[in-house]
Symmetry: C2
Subunit: 134 residues, 2 copies
């Protein structure tokens, strides 16, 4: 049901510093920052050979990563995102086994312009998990 790992999202308090470090210290290819005000984050994509890392910095009020950074001021691993070809079928299978979808349970349009759901981290052993339809 799940296919590729679409991305790993890392929350950072300072996107410019993080971007520079991933480029200079790790020698990674990093994108320019992209503000996504409707999602409450600014993102830098770290392009790897097989997937990508998304460095996220809070943007505006009510950023969905603000509480995480308040708890983890240095930053940290925020979520993983898997791809699936049929999000509603995936959602139904998950909820049938007792896993909870955050929010009202319906897919939303995510940061890549595609339908996504987030699963409750407690139902996946502490890991916040996003599914994206591709």
């Amino acid at each position: 049901m799940i296919g590729r790992l679409n991305h790993v999202a890392l929350a950072v308090p300072d996107l410019a510093a993080a971007s520079e470090r991933y480029r200079d210290a790790l020698g990674a290819k990093v994108s320019q920052p992209q503000a996504l005000p409707e999602h409450g984050v600014t993102v830098v994509f770290v392009e790897l050979d097989n997937t990508k890392i998304e460095l996220l910095e809070p943007l505006g009020e009510d950023s969905p990563i603000a509480a995480f950074l308040a708890k983890n001021p240095k930053g940290g691993m925020h979520h993983v995102c898997y791809e699936t070809s049929d999000l509603r079928a995936a959602r139904d299978r998950l909820t049938a086994t007792g896993a909870r979808v955050l929010g009202d349970g319906e897919p939303k349009i995510g940061a890549h312009g595609k339908p996504v759901i987030f699963l409750h981290p407690s139902d996946l052993f502490g890991t916040l998990t996003e599914l994206e339809e591709v």
Copy 2:
């Protein structure tokens, strides 16, 4: 310098339950558990189309993930691992920019039988990061 994402490691308190959930709820292909006593973990590989997730459960005394699970009893995202073709060159570049290598700074043989280093999470914005030579 860094190439593929080799794996994302998720620490879990109950490997059998996690393995079942990734298989049944997410429809993922999961391996049999493999005990790695010299690394203090039992691991289940979740095979994705482009990379893998490693579910880690503590094994024996002094497991390197015991403290993490004491702090995060439900489990959580533990580290990411990137591949590199020349680990010593990568290490030298990292330390030249001020990033610290855990331990004595020399590569060790990791859980896949290949040389690895771990970088101090504080130097990568709270994310514990492994580099593996492939």
